[in-house]
Each structure stands twice: as structure tokens, then as C-alpha cells.
Subunit: 205 residues, 2 copies
DNA sequence: CGCTGATTTCAGTCATTTCTGAAACAACAG
DNA sequence: CTGTTGTTTCAGAAATGACTGAAATCAGCG
């Protein structure tokens, strides 16, 4: 491996991480290398940088393309394929989330649904189905949330993140205010459907 | 493998998923089996159900314990170890998130920080550091959000999820209202610090 | 103690995955 | 068409990871 030390550490770490994930070491390393390279790289450059075989690079790039994690570029007057990663880290995050969902979550949901359709043949299966239903419900809640927030523009998404749990404090407050303002019972938080916000130190308290 | 068909499908699927993840097939299967079993199981029962060696079960249970995904129970007058998974799926989710963060995110953050401390030796390294800084920033935003919301009680967390992106509509609305109500400039969303909520069709519009 | 029943460890075997080099393939220029 | 440059495929080698059985260890109990 023939790389400046800073970059080498990064590449090696991603190789490690890659293998701890489903994706293999080489794929991780190539991705890391592309990520920190200012210009697109061709296969041969990757071979030299990482000291691995040409064919390995080819297969790994293929894998990265299957994940949509890498973009193919062509320079004028050059038949070689050049590769980069998208510039925007948020975009990368989205792609990653989408692909992992597709490969891991969706198949699981469909297996669960299929099993849940079948009539249980014993109390033991009956119980198992209940448990699976719980799991199914949880995953569905999470994916619904995901499907919802993934459409946000990045700036909004970042805002939502930085809000974090604070929003729930607002919900509590809302309950209180609703109670005061209208004599309605608190609790039953059909949360957030069409509430409106008001500036600090304003209005009802 | 000696299991009712419904349960077998589930167990096999989790084995598959396990290997697509870092965790191996057997570990996935054992977890799935424990998850759908109404009573805690001892090692020998797992051996019979899955048709694998005793020592493999022992090692895999060890691994599951390391992940805190499994709880050890002792029945009175029985020296054997019995295992279950926690009942609450939300709790399971929390554990999973926590452990994955510990194993995947934290080490990455620390590698990134370490690399970012070092002076770049070339323009190439300079650029690489910029990219790493972007990645570091993103991961930090995500973990900050995570650290924040993970403390919520389950009910609140579920509410937050079901709100999803709706909350950003509130933020937009807030900007508008703040503008109307106080003549402040919109934009610059130092979002949500101490805003208050008001019931629908109430107050300022 | 030393026996019993249970669990863990570990060295070696087996299986899977990753990686390579050679060969096939593709695109283009002359 | 033929030579050149670049990419992909693929069968087998190398490396890694999973699994097993035998032996070691542990925890109670008479």
C-alpha cells in the first residue's frame, strides 16, 4: 500500500469497518480512497494505491456501483473509467440508508408478513407469531418514519436532527396549554396533527 | 433442525440476515429462536432445536451476551443456564443501537479525530482532511441526535417517530408567525429553543 | 475432598469468502 | 481487419471464519 500516512490510516480503518459490516475489506478501502481523493481515480490508480490485484479492484468497484455509492466519470479522450464518491455527505448518508433498507429491512418485513399470514399449528407457533407481530410493528413504525423524513431537504433534515428530543417537551407543553385554554382533558396525545407554533413569551401560558 | 415450520422460517431468515451483517449465522439463529420462545431455553434445548454442536451454542451465547441481547435466567433447583431475550422490542432496539454505536461509530469518530489532529503533509492530505472533517461533522450530528432521543421514554419516542417530518412544517409555520407577530426577520432558524405550542384554531395566525 | 452434571476452552477440521492471474471480451484507431 | 488499451469473467489458490469433539474447568453436594 502506497499512500500518505494520514490517508492510509483512514483507508485501513474503513477496511476494518467494512469487514465488520457485510461489505468486505477491499470494498471498504476502495470506497475510503475514493472518498478522500480530490479527483476521480481509474482502476489502475487504485491498484497502485492499495497494492491489490486488478481484478479485485474491478469486482469491488462493481459492488460499489451496485450500492450506488460511487459515480462513474469519463474524461474526454480517455477510454478509462474513472470513479468518485458523491460530494455531499448527506447524499451519501441517504444512499446508504436506502440501500441498507432495501437489502436488510424490506426482506425481513416481507418474511414476517408472510409468516404472519399462516395459521399457527400449535400454541408454541401462536406465541411465536405474537412476538413476530411485535417485531413487525416496530419495524414498520421505524420505516414509516424513515420514509417520511427522507424526503426532507437536507437543511430541514439537519434542523430536525438538531431539535432532537426538544420537540417532545413542546408536545407536553401543548397538552398543558390545550387543557388550560379549552378545558379539554390532557393525555391522548394525537400528537401534532395541526397544531401551530407561536413565538417565545407570547400568547397563552 | 427440528422446529415447527413457522418458527423454522423465522430462524432461517435471521441466520441469513446475521451473516449479511457482521454477526454469524448461528448467532442469528439462536437469537431468533430465543426471541420467539415463550420460556427461557437452556443450551441443550438449543442444540436440539437447531441441530448444531454444544460448543457452538456455548460460544454463540457468549457472543450474544457480549452484545447484551440476551438475558441469563436461573431456575430454582437447576444449575443449568437458561436464556431469553428481553420482552420489550423497544428495549431490544435500544440495546442494538447502543451496541452498534459502541462498536462501529465511536471507533470511527475517534480515528477521524486523531487523523484530523495531525498536520497535513501535502495538498492531497490537506484535501483528505477536509473530507474527513465533513464526515466527522455529519457523524457527530447524528450521534448528538441519538444521544438526545435515546433518553426519551418509549411512549414519547414513539410519538416523536409518528410525528416524523410534520414537525418541520411546524417550524416553517413558526417562522411565519414569528415574522407576523413580532416583525422579526424569518430564516436563521435557531429552531425550537423555547417556543410554545397552542391548540389548533387558537391564537395567532 | 471427589463425584456429578453442567459449561467453557481450544486445537484442529471443514466451509466459505476473498483474491489472484490468466484468458476472454469490448471498444476503438489506424 | 488487426493491434492496442482497457475491462470483465472465472477457476482455482490463499486466507479467513465457523464449527466440532475432546479435554479442561467450574460449581455444588454428599
Amino acid at each position: 500500500m502506497n499512500l500518505p500516512p494520514l490517508i492510509q490510516s483512514f483507508v485501513l480503518h474503513f477496511g476494518e469497518m467494512g469487514s465488520r459490516w457485510g461489505i468486505n475489506r477491499t470494498v471498504g478501502q476502495i470506497y475510503a480512497l475514493l472518498y478522500v481523493s480530490p479527483e476521480p481515480l481509474c482502476a489502475e490508480e487504485i491498484v497502485e494505491a492499495l497494492g491489490i490485484s486488478r481484478s479485485n479492484v474491478s469486482m469491488s468497484l462493481r459492488e460499489l456501483q451496485a450500492w450506488n455509492l460511487v459515480v462513474l466519470k469519463h474524461l474526454p479522450n480517455d477510454r478509462r473509467d474513472f470513479f468518485t464518491t458523491p460530494d455531499d455527505v448527506w447524499q451519501i448518508l441517504r444512499t446508504l440508508a436506502e440501500e441498507r433498507k432495501k437489502r436488510e429491512v424490506d426482506p425481513t418485513l416481507s418474511v414476517l408478513r408472510e409468516i404472519l399470514m399462516q395459521p399457527p399449528g400449535s400454541p408454541r407457533e401462536r406465541y411465536a407469531q405474537e412476538r413476530m407481530a411485535e417485531m413487525h410493528g416496530l419495524i414498520e413504525q421505524l420505516t414509516t418514519w424513515y420514509e417520511d423524513v427522507k424526503r426532507l431537504e437536507t437543511e430541514r433534515l439537519a434542523n430536525l436532527l438538531s431539535l432532537g428530543s426538544k420537540i417532545t417537551r413542546l408536545l407536553e407543553t401543548k397538552d398543558r396549554i390545550v387543557t388550560l385554554g379549552r378545558g379539554r382533558k390532557a393525555g391522548k396525545k394525537q400528537a401534532g396533527e395541526q397544531v401551530r407554533l407561536v413565538a417565545p413569551d407570547d400568547g397563552a401560558q
